[in-house]
């Protein structure tokens, strides 16, 4: 299990590949890996966005992310999880978050991956400030969309 924040650019697919190669405990036992990568778009709420700052609450972030993964592991038979969230200054197309879940079977991997993303959105202490053509704005809420 690896959970944390990254202060520098994420290469999500390389991270997952490397993690799976170096963590062989569940090799041969997993049949399913569901993953999700969130990426910064160049528009939001109908406006062009040229940059974003991701602020977080150090310490509380790690604690909440670990809680979220523990909840998913309690509810679904999963074998391993990789979860990394960016903080700092981002540009459009930069990855924001990656989660990968290994499980023996498909359904548990999908369900746990989605649950982690949902809980993260509502409980992990991150805040986004977008840079627009004119000035900046705090993202006020995450819709369920």
């Amino acid at each position: 299990m690896k959970i944390g924040v990254s202060f520098s650019a994420l290469d999500p697919w390389a991270e997952i590949r490397l993690y799976q190669e170096t963590n062989r405990d569940c090799a041969g036992k997993f049949g399913a890996t569901a993953s999700f990568v969130g990426t910064m778009r160049e528009f939001n709420e109908g406006e062009g966005v040229t940059g974003m700052t991701l602020e977080h609450y150090p310490g509380m972030t790690d604690r909440q992310l670990e809680k979220i993964v523990a909840n998913a592991a309690k509810q679904f038979p999963i074998l391993d999880v990789l979860l990394i969230h960016r903080v700092g200054d981002l540009l459009p197309n930069d990855p924001i978050v990656l989660v990968a879940v290994w499980s023996a079977h498909r359904q548990a991997a999908f369900d746990a991956c989605r649950m982690i993303m949902e809980e993260l959105k509502s409980t992990a202490p991150f805040w986004k400030k977008e840079v627009l053509e004119k000035g900046t704005r705090w993202v006020e809420k995450n819709t369920t969309g």
């Binding site: 609450y57 509380m60 993260l120 202490p125 991150f126 805040w127 986004k128 705090w138 006020e140 995450n142």
Partner: protein
């Protein structure tokens, strides 16, 4: 010791500072901490509370040495 108060994101900007140390005397709950600060300014928009990095409520107890944080609804992940 004292109680360490922290603000994040838009609330930090609204307050004009990121943290403050309050003497713990007379502070028994998160609500007491709020009352000791500029309560109206903090509650001007939706605010969440944390005590020692766990989500808290106005009646959550606080004591000397605790860290109390106030911040807007979180917006991590992606939509």
């Amino acid at each position: 010791m004292a109680i360490r108060v922290r603000f994040f994101a838009s609330l930090r900007e609204r307050m004009g500072y990121a943290e403050k140390s309050l003497p713990a005397e007379g502070l028994a709950t998160v609500k007491d901490v709020l009352d000791r600060l500029d309560r109206d300014r903090i509650l001007n928009a939706q605010v969440l509370y944390a005590v020692n990095m766990e989500y808290a409520q106005p009646d959550t107890p606080v004591k000397d040495g605790d860290e109390v944080a106030f911040f807007p609804p979180v917006t991590g992940g992606v939509r």
